[in-house]
Amino acid sequence: MGLFDSKLSEIHNRLHARDISVTDLVDASFARIAEVEERVKAFLTLDEEGARRTAAELDKQLAAGGERGLLFGLPAGLKDNIVTEGLRTTCASRFLGNYDPIYDATVVRKLKDAQSVTIGKLNMDEFAMGGSNENSAFHATRNPWNADYVPGGSSGGSAAAVAAGEVYFALGSDTGGSIRQPAAYCGVVGLKPTYGLVSRFGLVAFASSLDQIGPLTKNVEDAAYVLQAIAGHDERDSTSAQVRIPDYISALTGDVKGLRIAVPKEYFGEGVSSEVKSAVQASLKVFESLGATWEEVSLPHTEYAVATYYLLASSEASSNLARYDGVRYGVRSSDADNLLDVYLNSRSEGFGPEVKRRIMLGTYALSSGYYDAYYLKAQKVRTLIKRDFDQVFENYDLILSPTAPTTAFKLGEQVDDPLTMYLNDILTIPVNLAGIPAISIPCGLASNGLPIGLQLMGRAFDESTVLRAAHAFEQHTDHHKLRPQL
């Protein structure tokens, strides 16, 4: 375990000194998986053969000397909605239970260029719809801090695998909080980059105007390294931004003197537990002591974000998931005599209840007679929500809040009540609607022994400031060093 508690730079120094090999790192990963996976259940697919082959190649390269990639030798896990050529990718759905991708996602190609080692594919809520991993068609991942609790979602497998030390880092995807909320629940760092900073080519689409891939790591510096490796324009994703990618690692100066932090009062309202509030307020004291200033502000349309999000995300999902028709890939129902039955029966057998619910909601919101009342209305409110953020960022560099209203909840506690479940995302959803970057970092443990997450939101494409502030906080606190006892 010691290995995965080291920082990336330390591991690289040891590799360089031939004190350890890439094979040692991969061994450490699979040894830990053998030790704890039965309790954590973070993985859907392991690729031991592929990982060992890659490790051997990298060790050969290490022996020969020469250039090493940014993430050289680091064992990585990928959320199972990121396609990997020749390695089963299921989106935790029965529909894609045996799907064997014919190409690599752009982030996978970039990780190969950076020379990390893919260990396997991580559990999630089916098609990234959910916040607990209970919507996986295969099994529920457990929170490494307490197996009675959910790891969060939808990137729950990614957060749990990092927290449990099964991989060195993981990639997740965030449509309404799906990187940040599980990061908060599992006590790790989770970054949702600006919409368009990281290519979505090969990320199985849920809600295309909101989806974004990002890293889950044990500390902020590692998040900066992973982001550096995966960010950048991609001609295969026409929504990926043509912006210059700054050096995120050199942005970590530790200096936040003069940084102006906005604290939105709406993010501390009803439903946010007192323990979460006090942990987040304590973090403000840390920033204050480092020379940053903070003031309370208002993001007045916050209360409309959840309704806006569920209309827009479900509408986009209903359209995106129309491709699952049982013709070109995925399961086909054996009970079908004509083409219409192929569609109806394959989809009904292949999708779980939450996916069906969102397809139904989205189809309704887009259907004739209701489009203006629901979908168009939500798009207009999205504009108001974005304007709230634009206004605050005229006078402030960062917005600080809790990541989630509470710590993780128990398995089975909320599955029967979709609306309550949706309201858990109230503090993460506005960020996706506005397209801006945000990070969740650990800021303490509650009395139930579960981690609390602190969220820092920044201007579009200003990941550098978000990372710099998060890193400075980390330098002066020990929350990120706490580990679950497994």
Partner: protein, 95 residues
């Protein structure tokens, strides 16, 4: 607005989902609750507010029309539930 079981049946048909009677009833209750919550948006006056469909300003994205090699057929067909002569096979469209 409230949704009836008939509405749910209609939407299911549009979405190409076959629902059991139990699912129909459950979705009627749940979609009503979610849509009732969504009506909260009507509290806001959005007269003259432009809709946001894409949050980062990107205009039409163009690229050169360069001929590239297609994916090999065996790869493309590798996940097909049923195939024949390099084509996706489906049951009869018309009876």
């Amino acid at each position: 607005m409230s949704i009836s079981v008939q509405d749910v049946e209609h939407v299911a048909k549009l979405a190409r989902l076959k629902l059991s009677d139990q699912e129909k009833e459950q979705f009627t209750v749940q979609l009503n609750a979610i849509l009732k919550y969504a009506e909260k948006l009507n509290e806001l006056d959005t007269e003259g507010v432009p809709p946001t469909s894409h949050v980062i300003p990107i205009a039409n994205v163009m690229r050169e029309d360069v001929v590239r090699e297609s994916l090999p057929l065996d790869k493309v067909m590798r996940n097909a539930p049923e195939e024949e002569d390099g084509q996706f096979k489906v049951p009869a469209v018309l009876e």
